[in-house]
Amino acid sequence: MKTGRLLTGTQRNWPTELWESPLSLPTYRRAFFLLIMLGLGGLASVWFIGEISDRINPLYDFAKTYLEGLGIPLFLIQLAWTIIKAGILLMVPVVNAICVVWWERKISAHMQSRLGPMYVGGWHGWLQTIADSIKLLLKEDITPNLADKKIHLLATAVALAPAIAAFAPVSFGKELVYADIDIGILYVFAVSGISVFGIIMAGWASANKYSMLGGLRAAAQMVSYEIPRTFSVVPVIMLCGTLNIAAIAEAQSGYLFGFLPRWFIFYPVVGQIAFIVFLIASVAETNRVPFDIPEAESELVAGFSTEYSGIKFSMFFLAEYSYVLISALLISAFFLGGGSPLLPSLSFIPSWAWFIGKALFIIFCFLWFRWTFPRFRVDRLMDFNWKFLFPLTLINILLAGIWSAEIKHMVK
């Protein structure tokens, strides 16, 4: 029989063996390679920062002596240095968002047997996010007629500014830290808590019911998940005796019995509970699936950002991804030993590479959750927080007390 112009059986090949292999099931075979690629790409990009941080102090000293020789007062030089550091700090969220969004699209695509961006910029669509951001910059900026125009504008700033400011006590290398303050943990939690106001303002000012529901949900969710998130760090603080992020990371260096790193996640029971609660609460704080109810696409259209277009919308985007990075860096510092290597024999890899590498792995976990889980319902979300996570953290603090009073000196 003639098949005419119709498709014949041999024209379409189904790679069923590939789809059936257990490695391509939810463990996502190709995503694993992407993880490696992500790690390598991330390391290459932070190499630059590491190099700067190694050379930055001699550079500063040299510049200082030179400029002092010219007769410029010291406070002006220090001011200029602060401004330069602030500039570098400002670049962090932008560069981070550009990279992470591209990774997210690539990783999610490979999890779903797709390819993701392929053409923009040539190699695997690596310029995709830059094209997106230029386009968003040039889009018309709409403020709805009924909106509260001042608050509508202010909300973006209130959401983004704390996200940038929260990076201040986070050290990106040995010397490249904007403000090395002793109460770093408190500062990060306090500042990042401000962002929720931006979201509530955005929800209210948009004069859109979906936005308002999104804002209300965000308020309820972020305020309540702040509590287990903070409480889950209390054991870390108790065991390390400091609030300085860098000091906490340093306190975890060394090895138990010569092979087990002294990372906090390896402390029996206390460490694991604290880590899991902090991870869950961090995902909730960053409004990502399965906790993305404030912007739940299928329910509230786009939640609080429904009425935001162009550059204002990208501000919220930037803030979200900044918090993802901050959470990853904090998890890396609190629970994964900061810059300490996994095995003593791996110590030839510089410490900043370990630090950023661990953070990148946590970012990958965030993306992985996002593309695997369905979304919680809003009341279940609250139940989960108040009836499960919150009591768990209190118990964990008790356990940490017992640990630090009774067991800590025995292990030493």
Binding site: Y119, A131, I134, L138, E140, I142, E297, V301, S309, I311
Partner: protein, 182 residues
């Protein structure tokens, strides 16, 4: 950005060598615009299923940077995928007006082009170009996902020819391009 885009060409044209700067700017702006076309998640009828298939695994629209957004405020492209009936026409116009400039419309499928198999129905708008300006018409009932990709490439060609000198696509002027008030 609207003011900058509107005033810059006027100023630059007066400066010698300004046109070269304009052409370069055009190149980059158009590159960004055509590389990231975000359509609205919005399907009317049968063609919407082929549109979904185009986003999905085998065809993967994400390769071109086409990434659906749920709200019209963040969308660049309206894919009118399916029959536009009269009851739906005014919401459709409203959604079109909610989109920020520059915005583009692809009429996907015969129904959106001219009414298709429902050419004599009392309830169908005979072509979406009766209610809003259309950039690319795509024939087929329904068009295959490959055809939709071709339409998007045609739209990219069209975007590549835009010039900020003429304010094309970047001003509220296009809004009045809708044929008449309804």
């Amino acid at each position: 950005m609207g003011i900058i885009l509107e005033k810059t060409p006027i100023i630059l044209n007066k400066i010698p060598g300004g046109t070269i700067a304009l052409t370069t700017a055009d190149f980059f702006i158009n590159w960004a615009r055509k590389s990231s076309i975000w359509p609205l998640t919005f399907g009317l009828a049968c063609c919407a299923i082929e549109m979904m298939a185009a986003y999905a695994t085998r065809f993967d629209f994400d390769r071109f940077g086409v990434f659906p957004r749920p709200t019209p405020r963040q969308a660049d492209l309206m894919l009118v995928a399916g029959t536009v009936v009269k009851k739906m026409a005014s919401p459709l116009i409203r959604i079109y007006r909610q989109m920020p400039e520059p915005k583009f419309v692809i009429a996907m499928g015969s129904c959106a082009d001219c009414g298709g198999p429902f050419y004599d129905s009392y309830s169908v708008v005979k072509g979406v170009d009766k209610i809003m300006p259309v950039d690319v018409y795509l024939a087929g009932c329904p068009p295959r996902p490959e055809a939709l990709m071709y339409a998007v490439q045609k739209l990219q060609e069209k975007i590549g020819k835009m010039e900020i000198k003429e304010n094309s696509g970047a001003t509220a002027g296009q809004e009045s391009g809708a044929r008449r008030e309804l």
